[in-house]
Subunit: 184 residues, 2 copies
Amino acid sequence: MDKREEKTINKIHEAFVKLINQRDYESLTIQDILEEAKISRSTFYAHYKTKDELLLKVSHHIFEHVFSKSLEEEKSHDFSKDTFYNYRHLIEHIYYHVLDEKELFKGILKSRGSEIFMKEFRKELLKVADSYYSNYHYQGEIPLELKKSISVEEFIVILNYWIKNDFQESPEEVADYFIKSFIN
Amino acid sequence: MDKREEKTINKIHEAFVKLINQRDYESLTIQDILEEAKISRSTFYAHYKTKDELLLKVSHHIFEHVFSKSLEEEKSHDFSKDTFYNYRHLIEHIYYHVLDEKELFKGILKSRGSEIFMKEFRKELLKVADSYYSNYHYQGEIPLELKKSISVEEFIVILNYWIKNDFQESPEEVADYFIKSFIN
DNA sequence: TAATAATCCTACATAGTGTTCGTTAACAAT
DNA sequence: ATTGTTAACGAACACTATGTAGGATTATTA
């Protein structure tokens, strides 16, 4: 990739991340991003069709860090034994990576108009839930699909609680909350 | 209230509800509402400062129907006995009222930019959770505040599942899902 | 019927979007 | 070092939506 291209994309991403911690995604204009990144209008449109496309790309970039690694690591483990133990650690792992990007998650989750981010986030979390249920034979009274969605939302509510508490708890503690609300 | 005023407010509400079932709240413009409701620009602004204010008022109007009645009814019951039984019925009651407004809930919950609605909806559901825990002595391992938020989100996930299934289940069945994921 | 007040219509300023195109400057490859 | 390529710039433009203002018109109330 051309050095100039790389530079502009970085500039745009950095400006975006900075601004999302100051105002809502919704109220953020492309105009604002241009000024913050100090690039020209046509340059932006050379890389992104819309503001949403930018958010989507930034989201994927974050999720690569938060999910890909953890899922790969856990795949090498023997999931058939100690299913629960491993799942707990996977969840903890993810919360741990979220902590690395805490400012961004804080900014986006509080923000209006972040449905694109949340939709992708849910997709990734659903993959995690899938990986659990592909090893654990589920026979609860609620449909499996619903059970999975519930666990995804539980992860998110706990994350919101964590953010609200300004990340006072450790990843272990919040993973504990998750597991307790998950089994109980 | 002046008859004319009442008429315009109805026209606006009706147009809004109709449009929200066709496109996302976010992409909906005031312009669109004016055309659909067949009113003039200045008339709209005589009643609402912004599109968000309109959504807020429409939301409150719906919640009056969905919540107020059910909460009042349940208040007259003796909550100290059969706490669980009563709670189950309260939840069922709410799902039942949601069914009355199914098209609107479907439209809004699927819609982008509906955070205002969801925020208010969560507030109302939290009141319901509060009413439960004010009678039931909670002593779980998760903080009570978090436990309440989890139950609110559970209600919403189940609602989304219900919508996705085009309301095939009965309110009894979905209330059952809620209770099962709530205690389990 | 007269006073009141809501609606309408037109116009306007403002702000953001998305596109175009000629110019300038940085880069990669030889 | 030179040259062809291509990204970034910047200015201009059409377009769409917001929000405001004022006077004319019409419906309501008393």
